[in-house]
């Protein structure tokens, strides 16, 4: 509610401030910043290389061609890149860490609504965008090798799919992270489990797998909506005879659920605070 009172110009100004701080780190600590950028890119490329090598060896997976699998891995890398660019810094994506470490207290005394801080604080366009660039290049290469002609509006479809995928990831993270309001020590890393440890699962091409597996992976544990489903939809063949808009439905449901649980957790937090809070913002 409060976020609506912040004009768009203020939002952009905040993004500008965080971009400037990121650039300052990049320039001040150039060697480590470059190493960080390369490290992120290499890390993600290694992760997707395994699946692509398999797709190459087996000449595709479950009806998906080698280059369709490459497209899917490019989409997955792009999603990682968007997440890192907008939500990696200050753990705004891994929100259970902020909650579990008692750092929400810091946010509550800032002269900005919490949602605005959460949307702006994670922005690191210079040091966090390596996978965004790498993913875009992999996507472009896959489209090139598939030799398909894409209509002009396809890029908007891609942007829309990326936005929906991000909404699913963040909603899941905030949904499960709400547990950290009640169990800060035990649940401090729950967002890491939800986002990072499950990440390999989202890189599996689910085509050709049994329906009993596909259904849970596009609903209850929606790893299949993070790369596989959007890939098939963007290539004009949404799976399981579903509409291309199916991920929107799941995203909205997860968002509503996350909003409800997070608000409830916050209500608990403002009454009890965090037993792990230390003045320097670190945890016991």
């Amino acid at each position: 509610m409060a976020a609506k009172r912040i004009p768009i110009a203020r939002f952009l100004a905040l993004y500008g401030i965080y971009a400037k701080m990121d650039l300052m780190w990049f320039l001040r600590d150039f060697k480590y910043a470059v190493l960080g950028i390369l490290g992120d890119a290499v890390s993600n490329l290694t992760a997707v290389a395994g699946i692509f090598l398999l797709a190459w060896r087996f000449d595709g997976v479950g009806g998906m061609t080698r280059y369709e699998v490459l497209f899917m891995l490019g989409y997955s890398t792009l999603i990682t890149g968007v997440f890192q660019t907008f939500f990696a810094s200050n753990n705004t994506g891994h929100i259970s860490r902020r909650i579990g470490r008692g750092q929400i207290d810091h946010m509550l005394i800032q002269p900005l609504p919490l949602p605005v801080q959460l949307l702006a604080e994670g922005f690191i366009p210079f040091t966090g965008s390596s996978n965004l660039v790498t993913g875009s290049l992999i996507l472009a290469a896959a489209v090139h090798f598939m030799e398909i002609a894409l209509p002009w509006w396809w890029i908007f479809s891609l942007i829309g799919n990326v936005a929906v995928t991000m909404l699913i990831i963040l909603s899941e993270s905030y949904l499960y992270s709400s547990v950290a309001f009640y169990a800060p020590a035990a649940a401090e890393e729950i967002a890491y489990y939800v986002i990072d440890l499950r990440s390999p699962l989202s890189q599996y091409p689910l085509s050709g797998m049994p329906l009993q597996l596909q259904i849970p992976l596009i609903t209850a544990v929606p790893a299949g909506l993070l790369a596989w489903f959007p890939t098939m939809a963007l290539l004009g063949k949404p799976p399981l005879s579903l509409t291309s808009f199916f991920p929107v439905l799941v995203a909205v449901l997860f968002f509503l659920l996350a909003q409800f649980t997070f608000r409830k957790g916050m209500m608990h937090y403002v009454k009890t605070g965090s037993s792990r809070y230390l003045t320097q913002g670190y945890r016991r």
């Binding site: 480590y32 395994g50 479950g62 499950r198 797998m209 790893a223």
Partner: protein
């Protein structure tokens, strides 16, 4: 002599459960959630009949054992975290060897995961139609060599962390990336195209999880695997001790 290491391992195991056994269940559940689709993926891939040098049964065994023994096949010690947060200074003050402490702490810390995840998964393996019988008992010495080499590589990475001072996260990311593909514990070397696996299996990382799993599943002869593992242990441990001794003098930590 051994009692203090066993006590350290026991304390590490208890430490993992300080938030309650229930806190371990989400992690175990997530590992199951990741394992089942991977088994399905192999079934889908192998159904095409592509010649890989591995049968479907061997592939499923390889994947399953890789998941349930993941903490041992590619060991990840708390050493670098201790360095990062300054806790390492406390370890030096204890009447126990640093190497022994790291090994005992890591292996002890793996026990709760083995009990909560690995043991139940071993019991349900027949329901998933996965054979868990090792092809040869040479797997066990191979596993020991794999764990031993894993610790040598851990200490070498710690030296890299010390060199990189405040860029620990970068080194950590690179370490995970290198091990995820080069250790062969997720994708068997045998199924990689263009003979990549033949090259990787000869590298030090190739003597970690992938080597032990190849012996377990019977896709490689122990005579072929164990000498390479032994050789890398003999090469890397003296190098590790030498480099770590020098690196200790460079330790700087702002934590603690």
């Amino acid at each position: 002599m051994i009692a203090k290491y066993l006590k350290t391992a026991s304390m590490a195991a208890h430490n993992k459960t300080y938030a309650g056994i229930m806190a371990l269940l989400p992690g175990a559940f997530l590992r199951v959630v990741c394992l089942i689709p991977l088994l399905m993926l192999w079934r889908t891939l192998m159904a095409g009949g592509t010649e890989t040098g591995m049968t479907l049964s061997q592939m499923l065994t390889y994947t399953y054992i890789s998941a349930i023994l993941s903490d041992l096949l590619v060991v990840e010690s708390p050493l670098t975290n201790w360095y990062y947060d300054g806790a390492l200074i406390g370890i030096y003050q204890r009447p126990i060897s640093l190497y022994g402490h790291v090994i005992a702490q890591t292996l002890g810390g793996a026990v709760p995961g083995l009990l909560v995840f690995s043991l139940p998964m071993l019991l349900v393996a027949p329901l998933l139609k996965v054979s868990i019988v090792p092809a040869t008992l040479w797997f066990f010495p191979s596993l020991v060599l794999s764990i031993s080499l894993g610790f040598a590589i851990e200490f070498l990475f710690a030296c890299l962390f010390i060199r990189m001072v405040n860029a620990m996260w970068i080194a950590y990311t690179l370490r995970r990336a290198a091990l995820s593909l080069l250790a062969g514990n997720v994708i068997p070397f045998a199924v990689l195209p263009w003979g990549i696996g033949n090259v990787l299996s000869l590298l030090p990382f190739g003597s970690l999880g992938g080597a032990a799993l190849a012996v377990y599943s019977g896709t490689a002869s122990p005579l072929q695997i164990l000498p390479v593992q032994l050789l890398w242990n003999l090469i890397l441990w003296p190098v590790t001790i030498l480099i770590f001794r020098k690196s200790q003098e460079r330790m700087v930590s702002h934590g603690g």
